[in-house]
Symmetry: C3
Subunit: 219 residues, 3 copies
């Protein structure tokens, strides 16, 4: 196990990135609640919190790092709640609410891919597992969100959702294996994930929602 959580700039940067990803996903989850399901303020903030904290909690469970940091640390809870409330308050003023939902999701995806992979490495995971766990941290919250509002999850229906997350995680893991834990690599990985995700959204018509499964004749 190579502990890289040393006091100082590096871990502060990691925390800031993780809180930024939490905030982005809270905005995304809350706006999804407003847009897709017409929920009230409690529902909006709740879905925002689940989307914001779900990925990190799932990663910590898989790593056996309980209680999960994203649940125990008041800063994550505060940022997640704040994101939900802010999104609720501003939702009516957003002209392009669908675009906002997509952009915040992509931001969260990129940030969590790198912070999730870094945390996995810090807790002793191997390279392959850290890439996978970075991907899981990135897509986990959004998957919970999609299930709760009864959508087929983006991670299944959209080709460039898991892939950009894994790419971002890969950048961090490769850099770590080459001996560098500089924050610049995390930023690069997050930017790569975000860019690939948004390119996928931009160049494709959104992946068609699969027809609801209703006991098709031969199934």
């Amino acid at each position: 196990m190579t502990p890289t959580l040393t006091p100082g700039a590096a871990s502060t940067a990691a925390l800031v990135l993780d809180l930024a990803g939490t905030f982005a996903f809270a905005l995304n989850g809350a706006l999804t609640a407003v847009r897709a399901a017409r929920l009230d303020i409690v529902g909006v903030v709740t879905l925002g919190m689940i989307t914001a904290l779900g990925g990190g909690i799932l990663r910590d469970i898989l790593l056996g790092a309980l209680p999960p940091a994203t649940f125990s640390d008041w800063r994550y809870l505060l940022v997640a709640t704040a994101g939900g409330l802010i999104a609720f308050a501003l939702s009516r003023q957003l002209d392009r609410i669908t675009l906002s939902i997509t952009v915040f999701d992509a931001l969260g995806l990129g940030l969590f891919a790198v912070t999730g992979a870094a945390r996995a490495l810090d807790l002793g995971a191997g390279a392959g597992q850290a890439v996978l766990l970075g991907g899981i941290t990135a897509v986990g919250g959004g998957t919970l969100r999609d299930v709760l509002v009864r959508r087929i999850p983006s991670v299944l229906s959209s080709e460039l959702y898991a892939v950009p997350a894994l790419l971002g995680a890969l950048v961090v893991v490769v850099a770590d294996r080459l001996g560098s834990t500089a924050v610049a690599w995390s930023l690069a990985g997050a930017a790569l994930a975000f860019t690939v995700r948004m390119l996928g959204v931009g160049f494709r018509i959104n992946a068609p929602t699969p027809p609801g499964w209703r006991g098709a004749p031969d199934d």
Copy 2:
């Protein structure tokens, strides 16, 4: 960590409340299976058990208290199974099955809010976390139930579902911080949660089920 699980009347009362909440949620989950999804006896008992045990298991995972007490302790498994079987046997005789579903859900909500918060405190959680964990214990089983029968979960769609649970948990946590762990406070918190929930149900037309999300044009 302030251990308050002392042998004697206090912990027996806590266990009774927790088993009562388990039983209420088992009845609720089983009746939901009968009413909403026309499931057979295995499905009815299974959904009853998931609803009855889900919240406590989720709370214990988040607290890192594994294996979860509600899964290891045979009394919980017995009560959950019994509730499912009883509900299945009596379901045809219930004139007001929908009201029963709602009442049992509210009973379970109130009881689990206080027992969940108390258990979180016993395991060393801070005040804010204990309130949140009491809320999660209360709404967790019902949320799993709703997802499995493909509903938007009550915790998102109904304004007075999470709030009464958090209020009940708050009573227990405030009492604890003021130095009292008397069972009377747990009963008061559970009653408050139950009452607020039922008032919400009574004064509002049930929150409209959000229209199913089917790839709306601009999403």
Copy 3:
């Protein structure tokens, strides 16, 4: 705790059975993604992996055995991914894709029922819990799969899904209590579970999909 994982043929056989179950569920999950939801290759492999690994991960969480073996051991990840890719490649050549889905699911169900129960016993679980955990390992992956593609889970809607799994687990646990951990009992239990499941499929018209719950008038 009675450790029975002794080096040698017994544990190799257990590993082979567990990997075989993983492979069967990966094929099943991937084919479900192709058939039910028309997903792309990433979605197909992802759903295959979730179906293949989900039951074991859930069991290990409930046992407190973290990180879960099925997530940490690269052989499980490899087999799960391979199953997904193979299913994707061959899906167009399968005439009877629905039958294949059902058969692979039944194979995974039977194998995981026995390996899950055996692992629970190895980690010190009591007899009743090991039967329950074998059942959970067997139905867990399929339940996650069903929720993600928005179906009512087989474990709720199909009478002979949980029951065959519990029967298979019971064979292993009874044999263990009578002093035998011979692989023959695992094979017998898996065969029993598979047979009962397929008989249930064969003799019944598939359990009718419950009508979608859409805010029925009196609910």
